[in-house]
Symmetry: C2
Subunit: 260 residues, 2 copies
């Protein structure tokens, strides 16, 4: 507090990551790109990665023509104007359907968070098929993917880093998507400020900051959504100490949720 | 796209803003603090400000002892374990109560967004009263406050800037708060990427990015919540063109909302 150094958060989008394929070595490509941009990884950096390239590297592409829809999927497909095959995949990736309406199925994803269409992505996948029969599922276990990349980057650089995997999520009540955590390693999801005192000595009662989601949103701003080709952002200046992460810290338990 | 310059977003927290009182000249204090940190405002910077100091400068402190609770407020106060006076203020600041439970009243605020306890803040206000009878309401018209600060900063600096006023909001389904837009001037709330093509020429169908909220979250990360004393952050590198802002672009209309 006594220092005159401003508190600074710097996010740098990596421009030189080539098209990712199954088996691509992401950590290697990220390190190369960071060095090429003269922004080599330092201690306490957070490497933020869009789920798309994780999924591609982990072969999460599915050919819709290989899917045999159930009668439930066929029924829902008529309500939402999606193909029965895509609806079947959405159901397969979900624990529970919360809302159905034209164009969107809001689900509780098998990973625990609520999102639209189970995070299944139709864009940036059509290199595999001109008629776009391929869709991309979310990574199977994003926390595990993040840990693996974290270990590889730490091994290659000798620096301690966090890794954050994000997707663009809609929200209740507000328009537009924001970058949101779907998995991570080595950084706090929630930071608990309860018990801390505010400027006048009043004890804050119930303040938990979703620090990982705030960083996810920040990085998402640089990634864009379409032809930006920035699938990875290095964040320097994350203001909280690094520690182990579990996705569950960010997911509100059903019994505490007011909007299921 | 052809340039080798990395896409960079830099956020700098201003450390030298003194305690704000009614009538404080915020734009002047922000400019002074930015210069003192050798980070003077440039074209296209976004000045992100916590609602607390806007509210303080606009005399939005209320003495709870001056409030006469209605029978509805008394009834709700028993459910939520808040004083009837505070509940009355929450009702006065709201269009509609969505959920009531111990410790929290989820409302549709008169400004249009959904938030807990109408954004009424009990912390950082007790300099006025050791027994903490004062609470702080949100600014009366945050878009107007933002426009005024924008005009003043542009006049003083000759630079074109955006101004973003943020608060910490909880979310449905996820734990923790994130910085969220409650008002702004001169920057897009939503950026519409519909019709843009992705990397493989597939046209994105329904992607609107809540760019202002992504920036709000990023800045919030630096502000912290308690004794951090960083009420303002300068963001450099916001990747979208500046334009006029209306809070309504971020608020989903009732008839389109699935979670009222």
């Amino acid at each position: 507090m006594s220092t005159d150094k401003p508190k600074t958060l710097k996010l740098v989008g990596l421009r030189h990551i080539p098209r990712i394929k199954e088996g691509s070595n992401l950590s290697l490509l990220i390190l190369k790109s960071a060095r090429r941009q003269l922004f080599p990884i330092k201690n306490n950096d957070i490497v933020v990665i869009t789920q798309k390239i994780i999924s591609k590297s982990e072969r999460r592409l599915v050919d819709l023509r290989s899917i045999h829809p159930s009668s439930e999927a066929i029924k829902i497909s008529q309500l939402v104007e999606k193909t029965p095959q895509l609806v079947q995949l959405i159901l397969d990736e979900s624990k529970e359907v919360l809302r159905v309406r034209k164009g969107v199925i809001i689900v509780k994803h098998r990973l625990g968070f609520v999102c639209a269409n189970a995070g299944i992505d139709h864009s940036n996948t059509v290199e595999h098929d001109p008629d776009s029969n391929y869709v991309l599922l979310l990574p199977k276990d994003p926390d595990k993917s993040a840990r693996q990349i974290q270990v590889e980057i730490e091994k290659a650089t000798g620096k301690q880093v966090g890794v954050l995997i994000i997707d663009s999520h809609g929200r209740a009540w507000r328009n537009g998507t924001v970058g949101t955590t779907i998995g991570a390693a080595g950084l706090p999801g929630l930071v608990d400020l309860r018990g801390k005192q505010d400027l006048f000595g009043y004890t804050l009662k119930a303040t938990q900051v979703a620090a990982a989601d705030e960083l996810a949103a920040a990085a998402s701003l640089l990634m864009g959504q379409a032809d930006e080709a920035i699938p990875c952002v290095i964040a320097r200046g994350f203001p909280y100490p690094l520690r182990e992460f579990h996705l569950n810290e960010l997911i509100r338990p059903d019994e505490e949720d007011l909007f299921n």
